[in-house]
Symmetry: C2
Subunit: 208 residues, 2 copies
């Protein structure tokens, strides 16, 4: 039986709609009273795991889920050994560098050396600044990254931006987009190659 890992949070509703389109109903996960993290669809054709977005590539990499839905931002950050199968064209957002509006920094290249950059995406931030040869210290934060510049802890942030509302509300402005992100379908590479549990058919349905 197919097992698919679905991400909690912003991508969940669209992920469940997508599954419904191919005849798999996991809408029970949207019930606020639901506490189950593992359910079968009513026709017992497939099983879904409800996990944190960052954990989706883990369950797929270790083969506990044949397929998973997760944002490209998380895939870039986690660098997991999973097969990227489809761009699902929802969950549009972008990874950006932002600084306080009143800052004199207009582009990442002008961030003074040894500045502090706060981010939930430590690997992405580190690789980006290494790539442009600007030596900064990346400080990992788990949430509310915008508080970094507000408190004066960091000169800049690297964060995921959707509408840009949170940035504006906190007096921050984007100075560079690193990449655009959308939801992706990922698969366990070996299961996919060996077409275990007929994954290929499911991927084909999802791509339609």
């Amino acid at each position: 039986m197919l097992t698919i890992a679905l991400p909690k949070g912003a991508l969940l509703e669209d992920s469940i709609k997508l599954c419904q389109n191919i005849g798999l109903d996991f809408s029970a996960f949207l019930d606020s009273k639901n506490r189950q993290l593992q359910i079968n669809d009513p026709e017992n054709k497939a099983c879904a795991l409800l996990v944190r977005a960052h954990d989706v590539p883990v369950y797929v990499e270790y083969g506990q889920a044949h397929l998973g839905i997760v944002g490209y931002d998380v895939l870039r950050e986690k660098n997991s050994q999973v097969a990227q199968l489809l761009d699902l064209k929802f969950g549009f957002c972008r990874m950006s560098v932002a600084v306080p509006e009143n800052s004199k920094i207009e582009r990442p290249e002008s961030i003074p050396p040894h500045s502090i950059v706060a981010s939930k995406f430590v690997r992405i931030a580190r690789e980006y600044f290494k790539g442009i040869d600007v030596p900064v210290e990346i400080v990992p934060l788990y949430g509310s990254v915008e508080l970094g510049p507000i408190t004066g802890m960091s000169e800049a942030i690297v964060d995921l931006v959707s509408t840009g509302r949170t940035l504006r509300q906190n007096g921050l402005s984007e100075i560079r987009t690193l990449f655009e992100s959308t939801a992706r379908l990922v698969g366990h590479p070996l299961s996919y190659r060996l077409n275990q549990d007929d994954i290929a058919t499911w991927v084909e349905k999802l791509s339609a």
Copy 2:
């Protein structure tokens, strides 16, 4: 003016009570409509930052908060350069190794080599198993760690246990307590030594 970092989540209510005991009212953070992450107490004696528990030691280490309240579990995991000032004697819980109830493993030492152990506390788990010389692979998960053994991804977990209810509901049982944890008051080491903004007086009040 004193700045104190308070942790979102399980320790927030007791942390705010503690502050109220010494005349600092940050109860605005408990208002479900509140969206501010930085507030002053009504008498403008101190400022509080509302951040994720894992970010408390970061704000203190980088000097944006003189003091912070955070669980010992997070301090152990983050290994931040902060001064531990007081055991606040609330937020009791323990860090434990757990395995499925039907597993034959009765103690961590009998976990077969090269098993997978899932945890949110990667550093703690890695150091523990290294200490007892059991070679396991630690797989980092962000949430719902109990799903690791349920899906068969991991043989064991290392996780924070409060009442033990989540473990029981998921058919897991504890086989070792690594340490007990409580909320701690931490400080910026240099600010504390230099007694900036009269931190020592605040710490004394809090210890009373």
